[in-house]
């Protein structure tokens, strides 16, 4: 292995890692928001909207991100909707992640036992107070491990965006292989970069998961 080459390439990887993280952060944040809204719509069975949410979730969960990105980036462009690759990537991640986050929130909401809700109503809480003080805190605690797993999943999924020419980690590795034929060096650095990004998050989540394991109340 050519260590000089590797150390010379590190700055490229740092720059690319920033791109990967940038996409992941925006993708995760927007999918959390989408997921939260969709889960509430489904939970309270708001008319018509819940049908739309259902369709969205099934479409998003049963198609691969790569195809979604190709459709957004290359397909829509021909209809006059020209989006930047960066926007497409975040839209794609949000579209994909939104449904996963929604299912996680939904499971949390459904884990709140009926007794909790009835007790809340019987002490005279309004619908809003009930949601704010009883349902959401418990649902959130139950949902945290799944939300975290989804976040890691989305961070890993960003590796696909190089296919629409975004300069993320995968893209840099491919570039180095193409230009210098330093396959092993480029890929070892790639693996290290992903490990540095993902390991701390994964360990942190294991810790969080242990803390919220006893989140369920009144069961």
């Amino acid at each position: 292995m050519d260590f000089n080459f590797m150390s010379a390439s590190i700055p490229l990887y740092i720059k690319a890692a920033k791109m990967t993280l940038d996409l992941a952060v925006w993708g995760i944040l927007s999918s959390l928001i989408i997921g939260f809204i969709c889960a509430l719509i489904g939970y309270y069975k708001i008319k018509i909207l819940d049908k739309i949410v259902r369709i969205y979730i099934e479409l998003s969960r049963n198609t691969p991100l790569l195809i979604q990105l190709f459709f957004l980036y290359y397909g829509l462009a021909k209809l006059g909707i020209k989006l930047e690759a960066y926007t497409c990537a975040i839209l794609g991640l949000a579209f994909l992640g939104g449904s996963y986050m929604s299912e996680a929130f939904r499971a949390g909401l459904e884990a709140v036992s009926k007794i909790q809700i009835e007790s809340g109503l019987s002490i005279g809480l309004t619908r809003w107070q009930l949601t704010r003080y009883i349902i959401l805190p418990q649902a959130f605690a139950v949902a945290v491990p799944a939300l975290g797993a989804n976040a890691i999943f989305l961070l890993k999924e960003t590796s696909v965006v190089s296919a629409i020419a975004l300069a993320d980690l995968m893209f840099v590795a491919k570039d180095l292989i193409g230009m210098y034929y330093k396959t092993t060096e480029a890929l070892v650095l790639l693996v290290l970069a992903y490990l540095i990004l993902l390991l701390p998050i994964s360990i942190f989540l294991t810790y969080i998961e242990r803390r919220v394991r006893h989140a369920g109340v009144g069961n």
């Binding site: 099934e58 479409l59 969960r61 049963n62 198609t63 691969p64 790569l66 195809i67 979604q68 190709f70 459709f71 290359y74 397909g75 829509l76 462009a77 021909k78 209809l79 890993k156 999924e157 590796s159 696909v160 296919a163 995968m170 590795a173 491919k174 292989i177 396959t183 092993t184 890929l187 790639l190 693996v191 992903y194 490990l195 993902l198 390991l199 994964s202």
Partner: protein
């Protein structure tokens, strides 16, 4: 012009070619699902082993596979491993290996979950009424574990089908590649071809995965009693 763009799908053998391309992804998925089912069960049983060392090794395998994106694994096997070991792997065969390894890890974790989530009193009761160890597994543990396992295993299968779309990035000619070829041929005649072709591929995946996930959800609610 735009209204007629969809005709690109029905020109010549285009639709047939797309489905043919999809069958390549499905073939890779089928091979790796079959391997993962067998080795995943083995791995899952090993993960509940009494010996700490075996458990640690299995755990390490699982976490190592999981923490690295599948696309990176594909690159490692197709580009790097072949270069180090000086032999050639076809892109499709490399995909088979990577998806089998990945599926085995995920399936192993599901199997482990299904076994460990079994209440301990189930086995104890079995022994108490005088069943042998084999009988306890045959009549008590395995039937219950299967009910927990099968819905999530089917879910994993749809995930694997979706993820095989990545193989185009190491040069397997599958549905996306065929789509690109069709678009390139018809780009002058039908400028909107990419919209229709990629849209079609999107729905092809949906048509395959949706019934499967629906089936898994049905089993889950049915067996949750």
């Amino acid at each position: 012009m735009q209204a007629w763009g969809i005709s690109v799908l029905f020109e010549g053998q285009n639709l047939f070619r797309l489905v043919d391309g999809l069958s390549v992804s499905i073939r890779i998925a089928a091979v790796s699902i079959a391997f993962s089912a067998v080795f995943g069960i083995l791995l899952g049983v090993l993960m509940t082993s009494r010996y700490r060392l075996i458990r640690y090794i299995c755990r390490f395998y699982l976490e190592a596979i999981r923490i690295i994106p599948t696309l990176v694994w594909l690159f490692l096997f197709y580009f790097s491993l072949t270069k180090i070991l000086h032999f050639h792997l076809s892109a499709e065969f490399a995909s088979d290996i990577v998806f089998s390894l990945w599926g085995t890890a995920e399936m192993g974790d599901l199997v482990r979950g299904a076994i460990t989530s079994m209440p301990k009193h189930q086995m104890d009761s079995g022994f108490a009424i005088g069943l042998t160890k084999l009988q306890v597994y045959r009549y008590i543990v395995i039937p219950q574990a299967l009910r927990r396992l099968i819905p999530s295993a089917i879910n994993l299968a749809t995930r694997m089908i979706k993820t095989t779309s990545l193989v185009v990035l190491i040069g397997v000619v599958e549905v996306l590649k065929v789509g690109q070829q069709i678009i390139e041929v018809s780009i002058l005649k039908t400028p909107t071809a990419s919209f229709w072709v990629y849209g079609c591929i999107f729905f092809l995946y949906f048509i395959i995965c949706y019934p499967v996930s629906l089936f898994s959800k049905k089993l889950e609610t049915k067996w949750q009693q």
